[in-house]
Symmetry: C2
Subunit: 337 residues, 2 copies
């Protein structure tokens, strides 16, 4: 097994989260995988509510919970020491624990001792669990879609999950393949590609979405951008390893400067499309652009619809906002591919 794997269903720990910014991952899990989330646990100071039953560890175990999820991002991503007794209690009650924090559970001695004593698993989703092989570039069966982006934080994960959900609704055989920590917590499995040793990026992605039934779609979460001066290597390794048939280009409407990097304008759309396809076709010569996903959340409805129409006329592919319009127009194309 080369992926992170979480056992469902979950009890989700919200700590003392003040708002959904801190509890963004938890909110995503409940939004995309409600069937896997059966309970929440909150500290007295918490101000958020996922709408799940509040349970103790024992109640959650009795209700069938298998994993205690730290689905939140406290300041700095480190584990508050006051949470350690809670995590111990979870394992002693019979639950695995999983975390997207920077602090690795497997490096907290107190927790390792309890994990060994109870036989429970601690999954750090930022940390790859095993070694990988180098990429082979060999073609493999199965259909694959990859989201690519103009920048970080433009909606690649959301778009990928939305396309997968739409495929599920239409009974198209498909699997969401998570490549980042939030995606892995949502799906319960995946590979954190940005944490892989660089020699193995493409190889790890080949393993994440390996040979499959010829009608099955792997719907793969993209990372970064080919034009991001810090992360482009990850994006290119992902593009080569994925051997995607279909790309969906994601962008935040109106963003002209890259988000976390000073002095870098967003590349123009023609260049983004052409460059992704050129590199992607190295490992899958049949690759095509299946659509564009724009995050138009900062726009009014008429502005947004006009923007989508403008892109559609210009680039000749379906252009959607996954939140505002859904992704059906893109899946229409994939369904008949």
């Amino acid at each position: 097994m080369s992926q992170q794997q979480l056992s469902a269903p979950y009890i989700i720990f919200l700590g003392d989260a003040k708002d959904f910014l801190m509890a963004k991952v938890a909110k995503g899990m409940v939004h995309w995988r409600p069937e896997k989330c059966i309970a929440q646990m909150r500290l007295p100071a918490a101000k958020v509510n996922l709408g799940l039953p509040d349970m103790t560890m024992k109640q959650a175990v009795a209700a069938g919970a298998k994993t205690f999820i730290l689905g939140l991002a406290p300041m700095g991503g480190t584990l508050p020491s006051s949470w350690v007794p809670i995590l111990k209690e979870a394992m002693e009650a019979g639950l695995d624990i999983a975390s997207g924090l920077h602090t690795r559970l497997n490096q907290v001695d107190d927790l390792v001792t309890v994990a060994q004593a109870t036989g429970k698993k601690m999954v750090d989703v930022r940390q790859p669990s095993l070694n990988f092989d180098c990429g082979t570039g060999l073609r493999r069966p199965g259909k694959r879609l990859l989201t690519v982006g103009s920048d970080c934080c433009v909606g690649k994960m959301f778009t990928t999950l939305a396309i997968h959900q739409e495929m599920q609704h239409r009974n198209i055989a498909s699997t969401f393949r998570a490549t980042g920590q939030t995606g892995i917590l949502i799906e319960g499995s995946g590979i954190p590609v940005d944490a892989i040793v660089s020699d193995f990026i493409a190889g790890a992605v080949e393993q994440l979405c390996s040979a499959n039934d010829e009608h099955h779609w792997d719907v793969i979460e993209g990372q970064g951008s080919l034009f991001h001066p810090a992360y482009a290597g990850v994006s290119l390794g992902l593009l080569h390893g994925a051997q995607a048939d279909a790309l969906v280009l994601c962008h935040e409407a109106g963003r002209t400067q890259m988000d976390e990097i000073e002095g870098y304008p967003v590349a123009d759309f023609e260049t983004l499309i052409e460059t992704n396809l050129k590199h992607g076709r190295l490992t899958n010569p049949n690759q095509f652009l299946a659509g564009i996903a724009l995050n138009t959340s900062a726009m009014s409805e008429p502005e947004a619809l006009a923007e989508l129409a403008r892109y559609e006329a210009k680039y000749g592919v379906p252009v959607v906002d996954p939140v505002r319009t859904g992704v059906a127009k893109i899946v229409d194309i994939l369904e008949h591919y």
Copy 2:
């Protein structure tokens, strides 16, 4: 300190190497850094000779040696158990030890014990020594050259070392920046970029060749190729992090198929040049192609010279074979940049 660092001079261990294929790294060290190599140590079955004085550990220490180098590649890259007592003896005699083997010295309990007792350092050059930051993309002073390739094993390290050597001969301020294990052993410092966590490739390279005097050249060893289905992510991160002013494209004359990867032709030269410059100019808009280095070792002298002339006429930059013609024509251009 974010780089691997070895203390010179060295005593070089050749084990029972049968030929210079096994002792390739040792040979490279003596070729490129003869002033740092003062002794060799060979087991009775060894069949190679670097032309250095054979010394015991004690003799080498008395002669000033600081580091015992495992400059060879035994079958599988693992450490034969019969060498462990030799490595212990080296540290007990007062030497650091450095290795390019897959086996990590720092994971051999017996060696760790002796290292702790003696206070000697064990350097695994395949293993990055510290954590790195993400890239910033911020422009920095100093001149930089990066070799890029059509494939792996086309002569990038050799070309980079030759350009650095020619600059040294001309008293051009310059530093060779090693990015692979052999280069690190030769130079005595560097960062093994293919062993860096992928999020940090560009950032690690920014640190490897950080801000410098405006007339100083960092001459940076390239890795892989943008068109290699397994390693292109490393190449792109290197290209972005290097912010190179000058690129030198390396290729083995006559190679049409990629070496270790089935079914991939070598990309055509126009595409290689254009694609490297396009991506490289993201972080250094002034980047230019300073020359082409062809490995023509499989050709006769007249064939080789004709090939170099043909490339030169076609691409309009100096084309050299670093072994056959030297790299002076390329450095002529750099000297006046």
